[in-house]
Point group: C2
Chain length 467, copies 2
C-alpha cells in the first residue's frame, strides 16, 4: 500500500476532482504559503473550473486567486480571514457569488455538520511519512501547530498531504494521522519560512501604543480576573504585545500563575510561559519561530485543533474557559459592535479569525485600538461590517480613554475607582470627531460581495461592493 503520487497534477486526477467541487486549505504557512497557489495552478492547468476554495485564511501571497476568479476556475471563496490584496479585488466585485466568511470556531463546526462540504482537502505538511501521518513541528518549513487543518482532514471526502520533508514510516510526533489521508505528494518547497513567521510584529515603541498597552494591563489588573489560574489570549499587534509585556510584569510582581495562554502564539507568550506566568500554552497557530520551537520541545505547550479552540458545537471548547482576551478593531460603534473585516471605505482586508469566538467566550473582552487611524475616527454610529456583536465586547481601550460596555456596570465602577480614564463610548466618539470631522457615510448600494456568518451559523452581516 502506497499513497505517494508523483505530482500535484497526478494527485488531483486521483481524487477525481470535478467542475463545481470544493477544495480546502489551511493557513499555517501564512504569507509564506506556496501550496494553495501550486494546487490552484494545477487545477487551472487540468482544465477544471467552477471550483470553490475554502481556505481557513487567504493571504496576499494568494494574489494569483484573482486571475483564477477572472478565468472562472474559481467561482466561490470561503474563509475566516482575507488579506487586503484579494480582499480589494473581491470588494471591487470580481466574484459573482458572495464570499462566505466564518470564524475560526464556526468553520470546523460547519464542516463537521456538513453545512460546509469539502470534496478535496490539500494539507500543507512540513513533515509527513508516505502514509500521510504528518506534523507541522519539524522540517525546513516547520510552522508549528496544524490546528486549523484537522477538520479538513477529518471531514473532506479526499485528503491530499503535500510536503517538502518526507520521512520514513512512521512519523514520530504525529499530529494528523494517516487514517484520514488518501494521497501524499512531495513538492520542493511548501513555503517560505520568512513568510511563515510574518505573523508577529514587535512590541510597539510608539508612545500612543504604549499608553494603550498600559491602560489595557491596568484594566486586567482591576477587573477581578487577575488571579491564580487566569487564562489569557492576545493578538500579535504591537500594542497587544506591549499589553502582554506589562501584564507579565504585573503577574511576576504579584506572583500570579495563570492557567493558559492561547490563540496565535508568539515568542512573547512563550516567554511568559517560561517565566512562570502561565502553566501552559494551547496552540492552534504559531506566529513565529520561537513559538514553533517551544511547541516542538516543551510539553507544557500543546497543539490543539480549531474545534477544541473555539467550535460552538463541541461539548466545550477552550474559549469557554477564557478569562481575558485582547483584540483589535478597525472600527467599533457606540453599541460596541466591532469590525475587523473591512476598512472604513468598505474594502475587505481581514476577517474574524478567532475574534468573535473569543469575544463570545471570554469573561473580559477588551478591544485596544487608537482613536484615530488614517484620519478616520475609530468609533462609528454603526460599523461598516459587524464582525463581533457588541454584547460580547466589554471594554474599549484607546489612548484618549477607556469605554466600558454599559452592561458591565460593576466593571465600570472598578475601573473608575482605580483612577482609569473611563468615559462613555459616545464621549470618545465626540473626541475623535472633533479631530477628524464626521466621516462621509459610505453608500451601501452595490451588490453583496460577502456574507459574514457568525459562529452560531447565523448571518450577522453582509459586505457590499465598493463603488
Amino acid at each position: 500500500m502506497n499513497k505517494l503520487v508523483n505530482s500535484i497534477d497526478e494527485a488531483i486526477k486521483q481524487t477525481k476532482l470535478e467542475n463545481g467541487m470544493t477544495v480546502s486549505f489551511h493557513h499555517h504557512l501564512r504569507n509564506g504559503d506556496f501550496v494553495l497557489n501550486a494546487v490552484m495552478e494545477s487545477i487551472a492547468r487540468l482544465g477544471i473550473r467552477d471550483i470553490t476554495v475554502n481556505a481557513s485564511s487567504i493571504f496576499d501571497i494568494h494574489e494569483p486567486l484573482i486571475e483564477h476568479i477572472k478565468n472562472k476556475v474559481v467561482t466561490g471563496l470561503e474563509c475566516s480571514y482575507m488579506g487586503a490584496v484579494v480582499g480589494k479585488a473581491i470588494s471591487n466585485g470580481i466574484l459573482e457569488k458572495p464570499v462566505v466568511f466564518r470564524s475560526h470556531g464556526g468553520r470546523p463546526a460547519d464542516i463537521q455538520q456538513g453545512k460546509s462540504k469539502i470534496n478535496v482537502a490539500f494539507i500543507a505538511a512540513p513533515t509527513s511519512d508516505p502514509m500521510g501521518n504528518c506534523t507541522g513541528k519539524i522540517g525546513p518549513s516547520a510552522c508549528g501547530s496544524l490546528g486549523y487543518a484537522f477538520a479538513d482532514a477529518e471531514y473532506a471526502d479526499k485528503v491530499v498531504v503535500i510536503t517538502d520533508n518526507l520521512c520514513p514510516y512512521p512519523l514520530t510526533e504525529i499530529s494528523i494521522p494517516e487514517v484520514h489521508v488518501d494521497y501524499v505528494v512531495e513538492m520542493e518547497k511548501i513555503g517560505d519560512p520568512k513568510g511563515i513567521v510574518s505573523g508577529t510584529t514587535r512590541i510597539t515603541r510608539d508612545p500612543v501604543g504604549l499608553l494603550m498597552a498600559d491602560y489595557a494591563a491596568q484594566v486586567i489588573d482591576n477587573s477581578g480576573l487577575l488571579k491564580e489560574g487566569m487564562s489569557f489570549q492576545t493578538g500579535a499587534g504591537g500594542a497587544s504585545l506591549a499589553a502582554a509585556k506589562y501584564l507579565k510584569d504585573i503577574m511576576l510582581k504579584k506572583e500570579i500563575t495563570g492557567s493558559f495562554a492561547m490563540g496565535g502564539i508568539t515568542g512573547y507568550l512563550v516567554d511568559m510561559l517560561n517565566a512562570g506566568c502561565f502553566r501552559s500554552i494551547l496552540d492552534v497557530q504559531c506566529f513565529d519561530l520561537d513559538a514553533v520551537e517551544s511547541l516542538r520541545t516543551n510539553p507544557l505547550h500543546q497543539e490543539v485543533t480549531a474545534s477544541h479552540y473555539a467550535s460552538p458545537i463541541t461539548k466545550s471548547a477552550i474559549v469557554d474557559n477564557l478569562d481575558v482576551v485582547i483584540l483589535g478593531a478597525t472600527e467599533i460603534d457606540t453599541n460596541f459592535n466591532v469590525n475587523v473585516h473591512t476598512d472604513s471605505k468598505g474594502n475587505i482586508m481581514g476577517g474574524s479569525g478567532g475574534h468573535s469566538d473569543t469575544s463570545a467566550g471570554a469573561k473580559l473582552t477588551m478591544i485596544i485600538a487608537p482613536l484615530i487611524r488614517a484620519r478616520l475616527p475609530l468609533v462609528m454610529d454603526r460599523v461598516t461590517c459587524i464582525t463581533t456583536p457588541g454584547d460580547t465586547v466589554d471594554v474599549l481601550v484607546t489612548q484618549r480613554g477607556i469605554a466600558v460596555n454599559p452592561k458591565r456596570e460593576a466593571l465600570k465602577r472598578s475601573l473608575k475607582e482605580a483612577g482609569l480614564p473611563v468615559m462613555d463610548i459616545e464621549a470618545l466618539q465626540v473626541q475623535a470627531r472633533s479631530m477628524t470631522g464626521i466621516p462621509a457615510s459610505i453608500a451601501k448600494g452595490g451588490r453583496v460581495v460577502a456574507d459574514v456568518i457568525y459562529r452560531d451559523g447565523s448571518l450577522i452581516d453582509q459586505i457590499h461592493q465598493v463603488q
Copy 2:
C-alpha cells in the same frame, strides 16, 4: 461552565440513561479496573435495567457482571475479549442474547459507522481536568495509552470521564480532549495498579517455550522481512517475549533498525526501542509500568487510537504496514484457522483483541503455541471457534516443528533451506494425536451464546452453549 458532578449516581442521572440503552468502557486498567464495576453497581442501584455493556475487554475482575446479568440489569454484552470467569458463565448460558465479539479494529469501525451504538461512554481516566481533557500517562493509576477509548469518546451520545486524579484546567499532554466530554466525576481509586500491569508475563524459562521462541526468531530471520525498516508486533506471553528477545539479539548483531513495534506494549519492546532495534513504538495499550513510563517520557513512543491501530474502514491503519506479528492460539486447524475465543471444551476464555486485525495486515503472521496443552492437541480438524481465518495465517511454530500455510510456497522453501524443521500441518496433527489420542468432538447443540464478528463486519463464527 462546569462538568464536575458529585458522584457516579449523579452523572448517570444527568446522562438520562434509560432502560434498554448501551453503556461502554475501555479496558486499559485491565484486571485492576474498578470503574466498570462501580458504574454497573450504580446503574443497578438506580433501578435501570436491560442495559447492554460494550466493553473493549472484560476481565475476571468484572465478575460482578454475572450478578447483573442474572438480575436483568445487563441483558447484552459486546467486547473484543472476555476473561474465563465471565466467559464460563456466558458459556453456561446465563445471558439470553448472544454476546457480540468484535476485533480491536472492528470495534471502532462499527462504532464509527453507527452499527454499534453507544448511549453513554464511561472513560476511566488516570488524570483529567474539570472539563474532561484527560490522559492515561500520569496519575497514581496511570495506565499509559487510552487508545481504545477514543472511539467511545467521539461517538457516544454522552461521555462521562471518571478519574482519581483531578488536575487544574487545562491538563497538559491531553489525550482525549474536552470537546467530547459531558461530565467529570471523581472517585477515590479508579483501579489497582497491580492489576493494571498484569498484562505481561516474564520471558519463559521453560525449555519448550525457549525452543519455540528460537524457531520463531529464525523464521523471521529467514523470511526476507528482517531488514532495515521492519515493523513488528508480538503478544505478552512468555514464549512470544522470548522470541522478541532472540529477535533483538539478531537485529543488534546484524545492525538492523526496524521502523516500529506495535500492539500491547511491554518493557521488553521498550528495551528494543532504547537499544535502537526500532525507530518508534506505536502504542494502543500498555501492558506494564515500563511501557507507561516510556510513553510518558520518550517522544519516539506514541499513543495511537484503536482506529489508527487497526480499523478496517480508515484510509489506512498501522496494521496495513505491519511486517511481522507473533500471535498465540488455543487451537489451530489444518486450514490454519485460529481460535483464541474458547478453550477446547467450548468455554469462552478470550477473544480476538487485535489477533485477526494484525493477521490480516501483517506480511508474516506467525502463530506460536505448544503442540499439546492440558493433554489436548493444538491442531484440530476444525477449530472450536474461528477467531482468525486461515488465509491470513502464514506460519505455525511449535516445539515439534514448523508448518507453513501452503499458500506461502516461497516462504516454505526459504525456511526449509535454512534447515528449520518444516513439515505439513497434518503431520504436526498426527504427532500431537499420537500423544493425546483423538479428542472427543464436542457436540455443538446448545443455543448460540456469542456471535463472532470479523473485522469486516461479517459473522465469522458462533459460539454455542456448553452443555
